[in-house]
Amino acid sequence: MQGIQFKNVSKFYEEGDSEFTALNNVSISVNPGEFVAVVGPSGSGKSTFLSIAGALLQPSKGNVMINGTNLKDLKSIELAKLRLEEIGFILQTSNLVPYLHVLDQLLVVKKMKGSITAEDKRYAKELLEEVGLGNKVKKYPDQLSGGERQRTAIARAFINDPNIILADEPTASLDSQRAFEIVELISKGVKSRNKAAIMVTHDERLLTYCDKVYQMLDGNLELMKKQPLTNH
């Protein structure tokens, strides 16, 4: 089964004698081509949820399947490989490597897998063209605006052609105009390449781009009644 599935996933943190429930029996399924948003107040467990979806954190209970593979069965080196090949992360700002220019930000991901081919370079340039950075491929992160950095991160998330795209507050440090552009780019990438995508966000205005919106409240994930407008 493609995409990402949570089956009754819980996450507890030890807090002295008591246990703190960061995720409570969460079930969700995101299929290829679906762009899902998760909203919720601070401390409700959104990042915890995304970390588990991104194979960075093991759940205390329940199962997480990514492309039909149960994460429980994987060792840490296999988890790293799965993240490399199946998951594209778009994190908050300054998640670029400072000493690599825009093109190398993408190619380093290829390098993690092995070697860089001419085809990889061509594809990286195509992706950068798509996010509007075709003329900035040799710029370093400190020469880019916040929005340009996020575009680079988006292109990077797609370079390995993963099945899953995860974004944690990708617009946190951008003004609303930039934020719309960024989410639109993610949405376009997800749709045209048929990815299963989850975005955590605070900004309700961005939800128009998403197919489904879930709300996290004290570790409980619920589909929101009011469906957002279908995107344009």
Binding site: S51, L57, K81, G88, Y140
Partner: protein
């Protein structure tokens, strides 16, 4: 290599500074090794070069030529022992020589007089002139460093405190003993000089200081048991018995060891701090799928590259220094020695980077999520 090179290029100044430290350290290491090598050959080259495996001293002399007097008559007994392939005696004394008819004190030369049997395996090849000959007792062959003091073949030298004169008939290379250039002469003539005072030979027939043995299979204990009143040691121990040799060598080795330790600490600290600074960056790379091996390789290859380049510059500088050092300096660069210290430095550097690698393996990719830096 990908990350390593890109970062080196991007943060040139930072890596240039640590590179400079490495250049200076390796430069000092090579200079010291050259100095150590020069000193030890000055102190013992005649011993080091001789083609013998064991040395026989008088019992109780604690491996010192100065304290040992034994009889040359033993030589034939020693030769007869099992495993002994050949044996040849040597005598040593220090002396001050002076070109004949020169009175100025400035022209006095400190030397080591070494007595040997002409034609024995202890006689070095001459690079100029001719070798010692039996019966021609006043003829000597001398270390070619004496050329700098204006000594030529055919010159006659007086020995201070003795009426004997000697004539230079040949030059040899790299023969010095106890920090002084060697003059090699026949054993008979050496004896007349060394035991000039009546009774100074303590009644020993044909006295010499030591007898060198050839034969890899020799068991020193067996030799000691076979012949009364002697102690047999390896050549290495005999070299250590040369006055000052162990102290000198020990000091230089200690300095070298300190330098290695310093370079290890410098590299460890520098890259560890760098790794701590970049820990968030490594966390992000891990989150997007970088393995520990990938990131570890980046650090190790960075240190490797930096060390290779810096040590290379260190070697260049060392040979540059060697070219301008005065000839009298006991400085002898040995390519093999330089190379082995270079390898040791490189290994030390790379091992030091492993601390950072360990740190990297402990960085949790989770820290990349849910943070604004």
């Amino acid at each position: 290599m990908f990350l390593a090179l890109k970062e080196l290029k991007h943060a040139k100044l930072r890596f240039f500074m640590i590179g400079m430290i490495l250049v200076l350290i390796s430069w000092l290491v090579f200079i010291l090794s050259g100095l150590g090598n020069g000193l030890s050959s000055l102190s013992a080259s005649s011993f080091k070069k001789m083609d013998a495996e064991f040395v026989v001293f008088e019992e109780g002399s604690r491996h010192s030529m100065l304290r040992s007097v034994i009889s040359d008559d033993m030589t034939k007994d020693l030769k007869a022992l099992p495993n002994v392939e050949d044996a040849a005696p040597m005598g040593y004394r220090s002396a001050v020589v002076l070109k004949e008819n020169v009175t100025s004190d400035d022209e006095k030369i400190d030397v080591s007089l070494l007595g040997i049997h002409p034609g024995s395996f202890l006689e070095p090849e001459v690079i100029e002139g001719h070798s010692l000959e039996k019966g021609k007792n006043t003829e000597v062959i001398v270390n070619d460093s004496l050329k700098n003091q204006g000594i030529h073949i055919g010159d006659t030298l007086e020995i201070e405190g003795s009426t004997e004169v000697i004539t230079v008939v040949g030059f040899v290379k790299n023969e010095s003993f106890n920090h002084l250039p060697a003059i090699l002469m026949t054993m008979d003539h050496w004896r007349t000089i060394h035991f000039a005072a009546p009774g100074s030979d303590m009644g020993i027939n044909n006295p010499v200081n030591a007898i060198m043995l050839q034969g890899k299979q020799i068991n020193p204990d067996e030799v000691n048991q076979a012949i009364e009143g002697i102690e047999t040691t390896t050549k290495k121990e005999a070299i250590n018995g040369i006055p000052g040799y162990t102290a000198e060598n020990g000091t230089i080795m200690m300095m070298l060891a300190f330098l290695m330790a310093i370079s290890a600490v410098v590299i460890t600290v520098f890259f560890y701090v760098l790794t701590l600074q970049k820990s968030n960056q490594f966390g992000i790379m891990k989150a997007i799928g970088a393995s520990n091996a990938f990131l570890g390789r980046a650090v190790v290859s960075q240190v490797f590259l930096l060390a290779v380049v810096s040590i290379g510059f260190g070697i260049l500088l060392t040979y540059g220094t060697a070219a301008i050092l005065p000839d009298e300096m006991p400085f002898a660069l040995d390519l093999k020695l330089v190379f082995s210290y270079a390898i040791v430095l490189l290994i030390v550097s790379v091992l030091s980077s492993l601390f950072s690698v360990r740190k990297i393996t402990k960085i949790d990719p989770l820290q990349a999520i849910g943070r604004i830096e």
